[in-house]
C-alpha cells in the first residue's frame, strides 16, 4: 500500500512538468505576443508613440522574444524558488497578487456545486435504479435528460430574467458592494450565499443529469449480481441490502471520476461566470488568452492542472481505500 502511494506521488512530478511545458508552448504559438497586441492597441487609439522603441522596451522588460524554452525555464525557476509566477501584463501586477483570491472563490463555488449535484444525484439515482421503470424513474430520467441537454448558461439567463422581472432580484458578482471589502464574518458568508446560490445551483444541476444516469446504470448492473441475492437471503431488509452491497460497488466509477470533475467544473463555469458576472478563474483565463497575457494564462492553467493532478491522486487513494481488490494488488 505504501509503495502504491509512493509510486502515485512520484508520477505527479513528471506529469506536472509535462503539462506546464506543453501549455506554455501552446500559449506562445500564435505569431504575435502581448507587446505587439499592446502597442497596436495604443496605435489604434491614436497615441503618438515610437512603436519600435516601445515594443523593444516592453519585450526587454518582460523577457519576450527569447526562445520559448528559455522563457519557460526562467518562469519555472521563478515559481519554484521564489513563488514568483511572473507579471500579469494587463493588470501591471505580479500574477501571484491577483489570482489567489479568484482561485479560492472558484474552489469554494466548485466544491459547493459538486456537493449540490451529489446531494441531488445520489438519492434520485438510487431511487431510479431500485424502482426501475416506475413513474418516478421515468420522471427522473426525463428531467435528467433535460438537465443534460439544456445549456446551463441558458438556464442561468432564463432564471435571472424571471428573478429580475417578477421578484426584482438581481444576482451577479460574489458580494454586495458594501460587503466587498468587509472582513469575513457570518454576515459576509450569508451575503456570499445570497449572491452565489443560483450559480452554485445551476453549476450543480448541470452535472446532475449525467450523474443520475451513470449511477442508475452502475447500480442496475450491480443489482442483479449473485451477492445481492446472498444478502437478501440473509434476511437483510431491502434498503440495507442496496446501501451496503450494490451501492458500494456502484460508487467505484464515481470515485475514480472525482479527479476529473474538478477541472470540468472550473472550465464549465466559464460561461456561467461570464453570464452572471462572477469574478472566477475561468473568466480571467479567457481574457488572458485573448490578450496573450502569457504568464497569467500559463499560471492559471498550471494551477488548475495541478489541482486536477491532485484530484486524480486523491481519487486513486480513495478508490484503493474503498476497494480492497486494488489495495491488495
Amino acid at each position: 500500500m505504501l509503495q502504491f502511494i509512493l509510486r502515485r506521488l512520484l508520477f505527479i512530478i513528471p506529469t506536472f512538468f509535462v503539462i506546464s511545458f506543453v501549455t506554455f508552448i501552446v500559449i506562445q504559438l500564435p505569431p504575435s505576443d502581448y507587446a505587439q497586441t499592446y502597442v497596436s492597441g495604443l496605435l489604434a487609439q491614436g497615441d503618438n508613440i515610437d512603436a519600435q522603441a516601445t515594443l523593444k522596451n516592453l519585450r526587454d522588460l518582460y523577457g519576450i522574444g527569447e526562445p520559448a524554452y528559455v522563457q519557460y525555464g526562467k518562469w519555472m525557476w521563478g515559481i519554484l524558488t521564489r513563488g514568483d509566477f511572473g507579471m500579469a501584463f494587463e493588470y501591471q501586477q505580479p500574477v501571484s497578487f491577483i489570482i489567489w483570491e479568484r482561485i479560492e472563490f472558484t474552489i469554494v463555488i466548485t466544491l459547493a456545486s459538486l456537493l449540490v449535484s451529489w446531494l441531488i444525484a445520489f438519492p434520485v439515482g438510487i431511487y431510479s435504479a431500485v424502482r426501475q421503470y416506475s413513474l418516478g424513474d421515468y420522471l427522473s430520467t426525463f428531467l435528467a435528460f433535460i438537465g443534460i441537454s439544456v445549456p446551463s448558461f441558458l438556464m442561468a439567463l432564463v432564471i435571472m430574467y424571471i428573478l429580475f422581472k417578477y421578484f426584482n432580484i438581481t444576482l451577479g458578482g460574489l458580494f454586495s458592494s458594501q460587503m466587498e471589502k468587509a472582513p469575513w464574518s457570518l454576515a459576509k458568508v450569508v451575503d456570499f450565499l445570497q449572491h452565489t446560490w443560483l450559480a452554485i445551483l445551476i453549476l450543480g444541476v448541470s452535472s446532475t443529469g449525467g450523474l443520475i444516469r451513470t449511477l442508475r446504470a452502475n447500480l442496475l448492473d450491480e443489482m442483479h449480481k449473485p451477492y445481492v441475492i446472498t444478502a437478501r437471503a440473509k434476511g437483510l431488509p431491502e434498503w440495507k441490502v442496496v446501501i451496503k452491497y450494490p451501492l458500494r460497488l456502484a460508487l467505484n466509477p464515481f470515485i475514480s471520476g472525482v479527479g476529473f470533475t474538478l477541472p470540468l467544473l472550473v472550465n464549465g463555469s466559464i460561461i456561467i461566470s461570464v453570464v452572471m458576472s462572477l469574478p472566477l478563474v475561468g473568466v480571467m483565463l479567457l481574457r488572458s488568452l485573448q490578450s496573450q497575457d502569457m504568464y497569467l494564462a500559463g499560471s492559471l492553467i498550471l494551477i488548475t492542472s495541478l489541482l486536477t493532478i491532485i484530484g486524480v491522486f486523491l481519487s486513486d487513494m480513495l478508490l484503493a481505500w474503498v476497494d480492497p481488490r486494488i489495495r491488495y494488488q
Partner: protein, 343 residues
C-alpha cells in the same frame, strides 16, 4: 416420540415470470414435502425450474417473476427448548410479501441458502468476516465481540484453518473451496432448520466437490437441519439425499425415496434420465442412451404432458391432450404420468 415431523410442504406451487415477450411458466406445479432433518434432492436439466422453486421458498423471486398459485407450508418451531415438546406454527411462505418483515425474519435465520458460485455470491469489497457476522448480528441479540467469536468458531467448524486471521480477508484472497466453506459458515450461523443449497458444488473441482458434500453431511448430522440440495448430478443425489424430486419443465414429475427412485423409476423422464448416465461396470461397448430431442422453448410449453414430445411411451391422443394427474402411490411416492393414473 411420534413419527417424523414435517418441516416443509410444497403444494401445487406455480411461479411465473411476466415478460414483454410472454409469460414464462418457470414452475408449473411443484409438489413435495420434507421432514425435519431430512435431505431432499431436486434434480433436472438446466432451466427446468429447480432454482426458481428454491428461490420461491424464500420469496427471492425478483420482479417480473411472482408466485401465482400454491402453498409453501413451513412448520416453524417456536422457541424449541431442549427437552420440552416444541410447539410449531405453520407459515405459508407463498403468502408472504417478498421483502416483507416476516420473510426477512425467516431468511438467514430459519431457512438459509448456499449458492452456486462462491466467487460472485460473496461481495468482493467486504471481508468474509463482515459478511458472515452480519447474519448473526441481524437475527440474534449478540454483541459485536460475541458475533466475531462465534464467526471464528463457525469458520473453524467448516474447516477453514487459521480462522481468526481468515476472518479479515476478502473473498478474492481465498480459493474456491475455502470460499464455499465460508458461504456454508454464513448459512449456518443461526443454526437454521432448513438449508437450501443451490448447486453448491457445480463451480468446484471434483476433489473439492466431495469434500464440500462430506462437510455438508457432517454438519447436517450435527445440527439436525433439513437440506434441500439442488443439482443436476444424479450421482450426488444418490450419495447424499434421502428423497428426490425430479423436475421437468417446471413440474415435479416424480417424488420418491432415493433407493426406490433409482431401483424402480416410474416416470418415463426419470427412466430416460437414469439411462443417460454412465454406470460403473457397464461394458465399454454399451452406449449411453441420451434423451432424444431438446428441452422445449419455455414460451411454448407443449400442451398436455410437457414431456410427451420426447417420451418413448407417449400415448397419442392422450399425453398431448390432457394434463397428467398427480398420482400418489401406496408407498407415498408421487408421479405425474397417465401411465399410472388408472392403477
Amino acid at each position: 416420540m411420534e413419527g417424523p415431523e414435517l418441516l416443509l410442504e410444497v403444494k401445487g406451487l406455480k411461479t411465473y415470470f411476466f415478460l414483454d415477450e410472454g409469460t414464462v411458466k418457470a414452475v408449473e406445479g411443484a409438489d413435495f414435502s420434507l421432514l425435519r432433518g431430512g435431505t431432499l434432492g431436486i434434480v433436472g436439466e438446466s432451466g427446468c425450474g429447480k432454482t426458481v422453486t428454491a428461490y420461491s421458498i424464500t420469496q427471492l423471486i425478483e420482479s417480473p417473476g411472482r408466485i401465482v398459485e400454491g402453498q409453501i407450508l413451513f412448520h416453524r418451531r417456536l422457541n424449541g427448548v431442549e427437552g420440552s415438546p416444541a410447539t410449531t406454527e405453520v407459515v405459508d411462505l407463498a403468502k408472504l410479501r417478498p421483502g416483507s418483515r416476516s420473510i426477512c425474519e425467516i431468511r438467514g435465520s430459519e431457512i438459509a441458502m448456499v449458492f452456486q458460485e462462491p466467487m460472485t455470491a460473496l461481495s468482493p469489497v467486504h471481508t468474509i468476516g463482515d459478511q458472515i457476522m452480519e447474519v448473526i448480528l441481524l437475527h440474534r441479540k449478540v454483541s459485536k465481540k460475541e458475533a466475531r467469536e462465534q464467526t471464528v468458531e463457525m469458520l473453524r467448524h467448516v474447516g477453514i484453518p487459521k480462522s481468526e486471521t481468515r476472518l479479515d480477508t476478502y473473498p478474492f484472497q481465498l480459493s474456491g473451496g475455502m470460499r464455499q466453506r465460508a458461504m456454508i459458515a454464513m448459512a449456518l450461523m443461526c443454526r437454521p432448520s432448513l438449508l437450501i443449497a443451490d448447486e453448491p458444488t457445480t463451480a468446484l473441482d471434483v476433489t473439492m466437490q466431495a469434500q464440500i458434500l462430506e462437510l455438508m453431511k457432517q454438519l447436517q448430522r450435527e445440527m439436525g437441519m433439513a437440506v434441500i440440495l439442488i443439482t443436476h448430478n444424479l450421482g450426488v443425489v444418490a450419495e447424499v439425499c434421502e428423497q428426490v424430486a425430479v423436475m421437468y419443465l417446471g413440474e415435479v414429475v416424480e417424488w420418491a425415496d432415493v433407493e426406490a427412485l433409482f431401483a424402480d423409476p416410474l416416470h418415463p423422464y426419470t427412466q430416460a434420465l437414469l439411462r443417460s448416465i454412465p454406470k460403473l461396470g457397464q461394458s465399454k461397448k454399451g452406449r449411453l442412451d441420451p434423451i432424444k430431442g431438446m428441452v422445449p422453448d419455455p414460451y411454448n410449453r407443449p400442451g398436455g404432458c410437457p414431456f410427451h414430445p420426447r417420451c418413448a411411451q407417449m400415448i397419442a391422443g392422450r399425453c398431448d391432450q390432457e394434463r397428467p394427474p398427480l398420482v400418489r402411490r401406496p408407498d407415498g411416492r408421487t408421479v405425474r404420468c397417465v401411465l399410472y393414473a388408472d392403477s
